[in-house]
């Protein structure tokens, strides 16, 4: 006996000051911001506090939109409406230049050439398409 059922609904997260301003930076400035926090250095995306000792964050730090891949996982069989692309792609962790932590994102092209240690650069969505979302960076691409 079996039954197919789909749960489908919109989900709206409120962001708060820290993530909200980080997203505004992506949308309005095409700039990726981190925060300097105790025990970790420059954390991207910014956490709003130190996960090491709970202290208040220090200054905002602008990081570059290029960096180094620290982890990669290729999705060979994307699931409709779950994954960002319908063709195979790679999830990556990328430590952006200036950051001390890695951020999750995706690589769309040349995915089998992506390795730990590969250098990548952000491909930004056009001005009118940026809404204040991690997808304001459409994806990362390998740089030679």
């Amino acid at each position: 006996m079996e039954q197919a059922q789909t749960m489908e609904f919109p989900y709206k997260h409120s962001t708060g000051q820290t993530v909200g301003r980080f997203l505004a930076g992506l949308k309005e400035q095409k700039q990726i911001w981190g925060q300097r926090v105790a025990g970790l250095g420059v954390v991207v995306p910014p956490p709003g506090y130190s996960e090491v000792d709970g202290s208040e964050p220090g200054e905002w730090v602008a990081v570059k939109d290029t960096g180094v891949v620290t982890a990669v996982a290729v999705v060979r069989d994307p699931v409709d409406k779950l994954h960002p692309f319908s063709t195979p792609f790679a999830y990556i962790l990328v430590r952006l230049d200036g950051a001390d932590t890695a951020m999750a994102h995706v690589v769309k092209d040349d995915i089998h050439a992506v390795k730990v240690g590969s250098r990548v650069a952000a491909v930004w969505a056009p001005d009118e398409a940026r809404v204040g979302s991690m997808r304001d960076i459409a994806h990362f691409r390998l740089v030679p």
Binding site: Q3, F9, H13, Q17
Partner: protein, 167 residues
């Protein structure tokens, strides 16, 4: 270049949740669902304690002993606990307010979830005796939805000690 990101935060992130489920019933649950088509509600009896679980289980979640002896329980019982829902759920078309209840069927040691209708929400109470309203013959499919809802029978309320341990 700015020293900080913009002062005004982006307030919300919108995502779309899409969860397709393909549920495959095991033998125990399949037997329970099939019986609903015949207006029969099955439970299973723990070989160690005699407690009757509805829907049937293979092993008792309480004693871990086998509980595969099937027994039929009544399609009437007692409201053990309930809640009146007045908040809509995005993506679902529900008539508000509605009553979500736990009903201990006669013969069962635990309650099942069921909506209560044909009753003002304010009138629902613990101990209220109810009976199932089934989908019509020919419309039942062997699904939880074969029972449309429970409604009060009008009988006197059950005494608390008859249901308080069957929530």
């Amino acid at each position: 270049m700015a020293n900080e990101p913009p002062r005004d935060p982006v307030k919300y992130v919108e995502t779309h949740v899409y969860l397709p489920y393909h549920y495959v019933a095991g033998d125990s649950r399949a037997g329970y669902l099939r019986a609903l088509k015949d207006k029969k509600i099955l439970g299973s009896k723990c070989s160690k304690t005699g407690k009757v679980f509805v829907p049937p289980v293979v092993n008792s979640p309480e004693s871990f002993a086998p509980a595969d002896e099937l027994v039929e329980v009544a399609d009437r019982g007692i409201v053990t606990t309930f809640c009146v829902v007045r908040i809509p759920v995005t993506g679902r078309d529900l008539q508000l307010p509605y009553v979500a209840a736990s009903v201990a069927l006669d013969g069962a040691s635990v309650s099942i979830f069921a909506p209560i209708q044909e009753c003002a929400p304010d009138a629902v109470r613990m101990g209220m005796r109810v009976e199932a309203v089934w989908k019509a013959d020919g419309e039942r499919e062997g699904s939880h939805e074969d029972i449309l809802y429970f409604r009060p029978t009008g009988e006197p309320d059950a005494p608390q000690d008859s249901y308080i341990h069957r929530l």
